[in-house]
């Protein structure tokens, strides 16, 4: 990580990082996922006959590794990776933790701007801004912004898109 990856990044990183509350949200998501994985693993241990041997313990071991990764590692890596920026011309985001994805959409091609708040997001006071274009693959999601920031960004983008929209799609 660090200098090496930045030197090899194909395009630049967006300037702004997400709200720190996003870490809490991701940890919560990880805990929920781990609970389900744990239930599944417990079911395997209970119902698979002991004659199978050590293979029976492979599933709980995998579940444990998964829990450590999604609770202890992924939220922090994601927080370091995830970035976003709105410039005069475009919206740029960077997401992912193992696979990085940069998405760039010019404001002139924005068709709609949505703000959504999931159940968990509401607990942490966060919102997601989704910027849609004519392309099904050209959608930018700016995840987990503080609710008031998200609303301001969405209003600003929608307003500017209306002013500079060109007819071409």
């Amino acid at each position: 990580m660090g200098a090496m990856t930045i030197a090899r990044a194909p395009v630049r990183e967006p300037a702004w990082s997400l709200s720190r509350s996003a870490i809490g949200l991701w940890v919560t998501e990880g805990v929920i996922g781990s609970v389900f994985a744990g239930i599944g693993a417990a079911a395997v241990v209970l119902f698979v006959p002991s004659s199978v041997g050590f293979l029976r313990w492979l599933v709980p071991a995998v579940a444990l590794v998964y829990a450590v990764a999604v609770i202890g590692v992924r939220p922090w890596v994601r927080f370091r990776v995830h970035r976003w920026e709105v410039t005069g011309e475009a919206v740029l985001t960077l997401t992912g933790w193992l696979t990085r994805t940069w998405t760039l959409v010019p404001i002139s091609r924005i068709q709609t701007v949505d703000v959504t708040r999931g159940v968990l997001q509401q607990l942490f006071g966060l919102s997601t801004v989704a910027v849609l274009t004519a392309s099904s693959q050209g959608t930018v999601h700016v995840w987990h912004l503080e609710a008031d920031v998200a609303q301001r960004v969405a209003d600003d983008l929608a307003h500017r898109a209306e002013q500079v929209r060109d007819q071409a799609t």
Partner: protein, 486 residues
Amino acid sequence: MTQPPSPGRRTSPRVVLVHTITFRQARQFVPAVIPLVAAVGLDGGAPTIVGLVLGVTVLSLATAGLSWWRFSYVDGPSSVVVTRGLLSRSVRMVPNDRIRGVEVETPVLHRLFGLVRVRIDAAAGGVTDKGEELVVDGLPRSEGDRLRTAVLTHRSSTSATADGVPVAMPAEEEFARFDNRWLLYAPLVGSYLAVPLAAVGALFRLAQELPESVRPEFDEPDLSGLQVLAITAAAGLLLLGVGSVIGAAVVNWGFRLVRRGGSLVATRGLITRRHTELEIDRIRGCTVAEGAGMRLVRATRVNALVTGLGDAARRGQLLPLGPRKEAWRLVHRLVADPGPMVPHPVAARRRRLGRALFAGLVVTAAGLVATIAAGWWGLLVVGVLLTLLGVPLGLGRYAALGHAAGPRSFTVRSGWLVREQAVLERRAVVGWQVRQSFFQRRAGLATVVACVGAGRGGYAAIDMAADEVRSFTVAASEPWAETFSR
């Protein structure tokens, strides 16, 4: 929406006959009739069957007549309105500026009665949801042509780009014409090969459903001799080839692509004549697709990428099947030539090879274990074969990769089973997506997807050098792409 409720036009009453013959409206009652027949049984013999046939025909006539009576359409100055519905009324209104194209088709029966079917295609927002369609079935030919020109004229006069003065009959310019010799390519094209296979499948199903007494009796064929087997295989292959040529001929017979004013008009079909119209202004690029078999004979297929077009795979076809040279001439008439293709770095070849060999190597490893542990060498042979086959596959997939950016357009290419090259205008790009997995990061590669509001929605340059991403995105779209480096 401002127009007063006008009486509306009707389709030709002759369409009632067409629909009675094809049981078009009555078809929906079939699921209800089957259990009825099963309950009553066919014990009555001939009279019962005759009664049943008569009943179905009368029912069909009644529904066809009723739906003809309840159907009307109006092509107003601002929108097209279609009113229909057997029991409940439905009124559909499509504003003229949402209309993307008009298609006139003539199935065989319609041709006998001098009728046509008009499909009016309206965009419904996103590319992914299939565009809405208005179908006006059973118009006299002259009325069909009038409706088509009327709708298209209304549309262009409401759109901002047209000057508002519709030209009466602009001159035609031929872009492509199907040469019947190209039908011989059909046996190498997957989708046409599927035609005879589907036909044989349907035949078998039909034979299964026939009552025992009607089914023709075959002697158990003697398949023991090698000679018989070879002859059967040869006959099967011949049948497959001939079937695919026939299938291609039925769909593409007399294909012709002409430019008429601001639109491209494609006509084709042996049994059902189709007449599709695309607005040139909405064309953002083309895809040139070549299946593995087609590449052997340098055959290709060209599709147009049109914004907001429903059922684009069929409607966007500019050349269903033809030689590569002809195809590229056509593409370059519509989109500027972006110049020679830039191959991707050696690291990309390693990645393609690695991916192609992975499955084979896993099976080989499992096979080794099985051989050593149980002396079971079958799996090992399969694994080695898979690995060997993976080499040309990986190299082929690498050879397909490439991209190029010219002054007005750009292109990306990928795929082995179907190698697809998209040539797009710079203005087509509505966004960029750059993806880099952990392994791509280590190899200094990245996958760049050009997001486009047409076709599949995105066209990818897989595994290009990470250093080239910035310059490529700036060269292939408008200045906003410099956000990636500033």
